[in-house]
Subunit: 361 residues, 2 copies
Amino acid sequence: MELDPWGAGEVKNYDHVFKKFGLNPIPASISKSLKFRLFERGIVIAHRDFDKVYARIKAKKPFINMTGIASSGPLHFGHKVDLDLFIFFKKCGAKNYFSVSDIDAYVSRPDKKIPSLETAKKWGIENLAHALALGLNEKDVFVQSQKESRYYEFTFELSKKITKKTFEAIYGHLDLGKVSANLLQYADIMHPQLPEYEGPMPSVTGIGLEQDPHARATRDIAKRLPYGIVTPGFIYFQHQSGLKLGTKMSASHPETAIFLDDAPEAAAKKVSRAFTGGRPTVEEQRKLGGRPEICKVHELLKFHYPNTKRWEKLVKDCKDGKWLCGECKQFTGKFVSDFLKDHQKKVKTKLKIAEKIVLGK
Amino acid sequence: MELDPWGAGEVKNYDHVFKKFGLNPIPASISKSLKFRLFERGIVIAHRDFDKVYARIKAKKPFINMTGIASSGPLHFGHKVDLDLFIFFKKCGAKNYFSVSDIDAYVSRPDKKIPSLETAKKWGIENLAHALALGLNEKDVFVQSQKESRYYEFTFELSKKITKKTFEAIYGHLDLGKVSANLLQYADIMHPQLPEYEGPMPSVTGIGLEQDPHARATRDIAKRLPYGIVTPGFIYFQHQSGLKLGTKMSASHPETAIFLDDAPEAAAKKVSRAFTGGRPTVEEQRKLGGRPEICKVHELLKFHYPNTKRWEKLVKDCKDGKWLCGECKQFTGKFVSDFLKDHQKKVKTKLKIAEKIVLGK
């Protein structure tokens, strides 16, 4: 893979890589027209067959909106990007299929991380409470371990449509737990198009570029099924990187990420300690300007601050040396802690229903 | 595999093979005490942990009785052996789990044989009608594609408990459809012991010797599950061979087998054309006696004729040259056609309920 999907750093050779893998860049017309920050700011950078979904949005016709979270740990601002995207499409009039991927999480993660289905379900409840607090409704959600038999039957059907050779070529391995997890993922994405659900219809699933092998496998299998499935569409987004220089956001290194259940004050402190593009002295910064392209605080705003006009102004002021790191960290810290305070209040009200959904009782 | 589980021919070196694979011969005390032809006549020849089930039968305590039929074609007298065994254990007071293995049949069979799940279900309905006619009740049966989510969740759980290496060592391949089918088989055998079903309890499943790899895999996985599952027990039966010399019963060669939906007269004709142990002339046969050990008509009676005393008398008379092939073929043909007439009447009354069970509506 020649792509580093993490980081807001300058992106080189994307066109070359897109061509190689058959990905299409998102046209500027679409990015502008959707009026959503993840498109406007180039975070969603490529797609496969998203034009079909875009046409449905413009025509106010339904389409399938599918994503999921493997419930294997706490959610951070990186996961929030997936969720924000899902909620955006929900507002565009989609048929919504948000998967609490508890079986996937258990079978694809090592035992030391997810020792039992119960552990996966515990995370499923917690993750789902956050998703509901962000704007999902109960009817937008399904839980793998609670699905009806048609879904599972379909999962097994898929196992006949992918060969060992294809699987190894795509993934480079044949770990049986991971094979099972992948079959579930294919089913998650495609089952909404079965006659028992919505029937054939364009679909969109947002993923990171590194997950393109899954997308290719899914699209390949879709063509070999007898249900007239519209080849599933995908959009590819960049990942928000970690708060420290050269890091990814990671649950094993809590200082690299802001978690959705971080205490608001602690989150603001993480912002204040993040790597910035600031200059050694205030004088230099006034003179040379900041470097948002390498700044983790800027990246946080780029991925999450909702008001694009205001955000553009901040970037310009930073580059012009008018908006300094101290000020910016305080502003961003307050933005994050205000968001978390409000969000966490909502999460508390969603835990019971999340438990009911995940455990089916 | 050094075992040829087909045929009533003389069995050599079984003890040696049993030792090698860790199988136990069925003790004579058990064979006699159960008063069932498949035990009495040495057709059930070996076991793993059947003594636990035997103890439960003697103590009139429940145990799990599990078998299944991959619904991929018409049933013949070979399948009837599985069913007769299952019904015998049902009468011994078992908790019964008879699997209509429709998903298994679809994913493990080539497309030219089972092109779709619908085809597997069609066979499922037909096979199940026969099973019900033989004595199963609706509550003894489950259909893979109609199971509740807990069963499927368990199937996926199992995928984490068997490695690629183990799988290849046992089966010599890693065909993904067959992997899926095997996971379903393991789940079929073990799910009755989950807390949501009967809880841990000795179980018995009758299989052919060539299926011992499945049994070993199942028993191996059982030990690595967190549910306190009693290592599943197995009994091994010989397969009834084909009606022609050197054949197996096979749906692709209808003359080798009597099918449960053969017209009674046609079935009697198949008997009359079967290979026997008869001598070239009546005189020789009167003098030397018949050879039941190579006779397909004798084999049919051995596997299916219910009255053991009468059967022993026939064998003795045959060996003594008193009971000749013509007479025997007429007798056996009538036995088979009478059975089929009666059975097929019952099947007609079971088709509707079988359809309701398999399709869930």
